[in-house]
Amino acid sequence: MNVGDELPGLSVHVTREQLVRYAGASLDFNPIHWNERFATEVGLPNVIAHGMLTMALGGRVVTDWLGDPGRVVEYGVRFTRPVVVPDDDEGALVEFTAKVGEVRDDGTARIDVTAKFDGRTVLGKAQAVVRA
């Protein structure tokens, strides 16, 4: 593991169906994630993805690469922009990339994750610390 190493990326079409599945799995039933009428009433352009779903998908880039997800000792993100999910079969395309940002003396490494939707980043300071 060396600084600058790139992890295999991941592209996900986040659909309304996935939002419903994630709502049930995570027990987060906030209607902004499934009810277009409610979402637009509170000023959003449309239904948006759970920030925690986007975070989880970014985590997959790291755990797919590690093989053992138990090697993730820290994982944090800022939620900077919403992922707007249209009511169609294609959904919202979110593209994840990641690279090794730092290798530490204590046997851990920092992985920097980038998530892009519509050409712009949707997560800020998305970083995982993993046991190398």
């Binding site: 027990l27 925690m52 944090g76």
Partner: protein, 149 residues
């Protein structure tokens, strides 16, 4: 109404115990499209040194958000829950959560401040087994959008 800064340092003890189930881990992994065998295959998990199947790194959101929302809904705090959004989230894992863990969440208010007309609430939560073994510490910042934003 601005948040009351005297709430900094306040602790909210666990309200319930959550038992992590194999089926719930598999359901969560399915929902994020993750086919990692350590989330589903007990023998694979044991072979990797774990007591049972392990949970994905963000799985504890299930109990974390519920515990944070209980704080956010504390009427004494005076937070406008309908205008609240999640600003950031971090998980620090002391070990992976495993099926069979009986977990409790204790939430602490770390900071309360106003910036650019928005209220900010920073909390951390200790997730531990009912026997007191630390599993994860979560950190979150919640933002209550001001009336004009």
């Amino acid at each position: 109404m601005p948040l009351d800064p005297s709430f900094v340092g306040r602790t909210y003890p666990p309200e319930t115990t959550y038992e992590v189930g194999r089926a719930k881990i598999a359901e969560f992994a399915d929902a994020i499209g993750d086919d990692n065998p350590l989330y589903r295959d007990i023998e694979a998990a044991k072979g990797a040194g774990y007591a049972d199947v392990i949970a994905p790194p963000t799985f504890l959101t299930i109990i974390n958000i519920r515990a944070i929302n209980a704080v956010a809904e504390d009427p004494d705090l005076g937070l406008d829950y309908d205008r609240m959004v999640h600003g950031d989230q971090k998980f620090v894992h002391h070990r992976p959560a495993c099926a069979g863990d009986r977990l409790q969440v204790t939430v602490h208010i770390d900071d309360v401040f106003v910036r650019a007309g928005n209220d900010f609430l920073s909390v951390h939560a200790d997730v531990a087994t009912d026997g007191g073994q630390p599993v994860c510490t979560t950190y979150a910042q919640l933002v209550v959008r001001g009336e004009r934003s």
